[in-house]
């Protein structure tokens, strides 16, 4: 679920047509002038019933995503096979239900400064709230945690889950997560001077910063041998993680951490650069971020492997970017699509990697998908067809 619409079908249609989900920001009356990838239906979709305590923008988006593409049914079937205690829930978010707490701070008691009595912390604000909500929604009893490594986080949930399955703590896992618009990120990225006033233009010579998006998406991971004939599974072939050891909010200018994440992903997959058919870039359209990633990608792949950022479609969905782009990679593999880059008009002439601005039909068997975040957190995933 992104600003492109609900489910795989709407996402694929947008990728094929080159149609972006970005529009002028109407999220917060006084928000800085910018474009966002917003999921408008969230306002009218409260969570009620047993799980009403979890109602907040972030969990609403998670609930909507769980209801798409037969996902909850697929998890229920897996729960039948493995037992609910053997399915882990390893999700990610950067801000969880922070907009709920922002609203509560505006309603503080003028005398005592206390938060309003209807404010509940655990089920909305706490980073784990989405994990608890999804685990209860899907009636799972296995190990669970929520990872929060800024904009790398839902990519990293694949690595967490793969390790937990390999270590024997569970047999299958739900990964992914959600991040939603909030004042903290809109004004925070604004204060850092990296928020574009126009729809973001990744790798463009005239790029001027990010457009924030919101998204929720999930995937069910099982061991490859669990696949049945006719499943057409996409495999997590490898994952690579690294830290920049450089700066809290600015990437290493030479893309050292980014390159290391991609190299480790290739090594864990037992692949080399020429085995990759597409690089789904982090590509948020900041000056320094795109330049550093171009350098890292060129150093590793040269000009041989086409690359593009899909942030022009969805906006930068922050903590959800990893899972959104993993799903996009799966769609591109299944539907033989090399995704382009809406709003990118003229690629930065100083860049050397092979950037693809316009969507085209092309067989793709293996994608490496990059997600990088604050704190110098980097994660690259390799997704592909069985060899």
């Amino acid at each position: 679920m992104t600003s492109l619409g609900a489910g795989q079908r709407a996402t694929l249609a947008a990728l094929q047509s080159g149609c972006s989900g970005l529009g002028p920001c109407v999220f917060d009356g006084e928000a800085p002038p910018t474009h966002v990838g917003m999921v408008a239906a969230l306002e009218e979709a409260p969570i009620d019933g047993d799980l009403a305590a979890y109602d907040c923008r972030n969990n609403r988006l998670a609930a909507m995503a769980l209801a798409e593409d037969g996902f909850a049914e697929a998890v229920a079937a897996a729960s039948q096979r493995y037992g609910p205690a053997r399915i882990g829930v390893f999700l990610g978010t950067s801000t969880a239900g922070l907009s709920h707490t922002e609203g509560a701070y505006r309603r503080r008691d003028p005398g005592t400064g206390a938060l309003p009595s209807d404010y509940v912390y655990r089920t909305t604000h706490n980073t784990y709230s989405i994990g608890e909500f999804v685990r209860r929604s899907l009636r799972l009893d296995g190990p669970a945690m929520v990872a929060s490594s800024a904009c790398a986080t839902t990519a990293k949930t694949f690595a967490n889950a793969a390790r937990m399955i390999a270590a024997g703590f569970c047999d299958a896992a739900v990964v992914g997560g959600a991040d939603t618009l909030c004042a903290t990120t809109l004004y925070g990225f604004g204060a850092l001077g990296v928020l574009s006033s126009e729809p973001c233009r990744p790798f463009d010579a005239e790029r001027s910063g990010i457009s924030i998006g919101e998204a929720g998406a999930f995937a069910l991971l099982e061991k490859p041998e669990a696949a049945c004939p006719g499943d057409d599974p996409i495999l997590l072939l490898g994952a690579g993680e690294s830290s920049d050891a450089y700066h809290m909010s600015s990437p290493h200018p030479e893309g050292v951490g980014a390159r290391q994440a991609m190299e480790r992903a290739l090594a864990s997959a037992g692949l080399v650069a020429r085995d990759i058919d597409h690089v789904n870039l982090h590509g948020t359209a900041t000056q320094v971020g795109d330049a550093a990633e171009d350098r890292a990608v060129f150093d590793l792949f040269g000009t041989a492997v086409p690359c593009s950022s899909t942030k022009g479609y969805t906006g930068h969905t922050l903590g959800a970017a990893g899972i959104v782009e993993a799903v996009i990679a799966c769609l591109c593999i299944r539907h033989a699509l090399l995704p382009g880059s809406p709003h990118t008009r003229s690629v930065d002439p100083s860049f050397r990697s092979q950037y693809v601005a316009r969507t085209r039909a092309q067989r793709i068997d293996r994608v490496i998908s990059n997600s990088f975040g604050f704190g110098g957190a980097n994660c690259s995933l390799i997704l592909g067809r069985p060899q």
Partner: protein
């Protein structure tokens, strides 16, 4: 059940000023006098950085550095797992108060410090580590979540992993909505294989929750129950006693963690006593 080998411990909490000064308290061999936890300056940070660093980062760097020193390995080569229920409440409160004013001002430094993985970022910078790092939360079960994630990573990736669990009380008004009892952090260095540096074997298993979590004698029990990171205390107390035993740690409503502790010949008590002696003034 998954087995890892403990190689180093760090600890900081009320009346618990480092593992070397605390193990005898946890073992019941010395009296416990709770006093507000002090956060010592970390040797990992340059002097000019120490003053402006937020408390969460100071706490994590101090306790993490202690554990790696105890483990006798440099911190930069290990993967890391940081786990916390609440993250940095001071920074959060400052941002939220700013956003509730008509000007809606957010400091860019406060903003980048507000991410849950801020301690991981500063750890990476301070130790010059480019190794993988995970930042986790599982509300009151955050320590158990960190322990299984770190265990899985040590075993599956066959590497040394540093785990740091930390929590600090929120300022008001958040404290009223989410009371966290005390400043507390615990760090463990976990290895995939035994060595002459091993302090204990840990067999870690996730089991159905039956509310059997191992409890402590008061006033340590109040600390355990009131601070998510202090849910590690039953494990630390078992390590301090230095005898083979099994503890149950709180995790989620439907599951808990069973950890079987088997001290190695080097012997945890002997090792910590050596360090205590080494630290004692001549």
């Amino acid at each position: 059940m998954t087995r890892v080998y403990l190689q180093g411990i760090g600890l900081r909490g009320p009346g618990l000023e480092g593992w070397a000064k605390s193990w005898a308290i946890l073992a019941g061999e010395a009296g416990y006098a709770p006093a507000p936890a002090s956060i010592p300056p970390s040797a990992l940070l340059p002097a000019n950085e120490r003053r402006r660093t937020v408390r969460t980062v100071k706490l994590v760097l101090a306790v993490g550095a202690e554990a790696f020193e105890h483990a006798r390995v440099p911190p930069g080569a290990a993967a890391t797992v940081f786990t916390s229920s609440g993250g940095d409440g001071d920074t959060l409160d400052d941002i939220l108060k700013g956003l509730s004013l008509p000007e809606r001002e957010v400091s860019p430094t406060r903003f980048h410090n507000s991410v849950h993985n801020a301690p991981a970022g500063y750890w990476s910078i301070a130790t010059l580590s480019r190794e993988p790092s995970t930042s986790l939360c599982a509300h009151d079960g955050s320590f158990a979540a960190g322990l299984i994630d770190a265990t899985a990573q040590a075993v599956v990736d066959d590497r040394l992993v540093g785990l740091v669990a930390y929590d600090l009380p929120y300022p008001e008004p958040l404290h009223g909505a989410r009371p966290i009892g005390a400043v507390f952090a615990a760090a463990l260095v976990l290895a995939p294989r035994p060595s002459e540096l091993t302090l204990a074997e840990l067999d870690v298993a996730v089991e159905p929750g039956q509310g059997r979590a191992t409890r402590l004698a008061e006033p340590l029990e109040a600390l355990r129950a009131g601070t998510p990171a202090a849910r590690s205390l039953p494990l630390l107390a078992a390590l301090a006693r230095g005898e083979a035993e099994t503890v149950i740690l709180d995790y989620l409503d439907e599951c808990e963690l069973r950890v079987a502790v088997e001290p190695r010949p080097r012997g945890i008590a002997a090792a910590t006593r050596r360090i205590t002696t080494a630290l004692a003034p001549p």
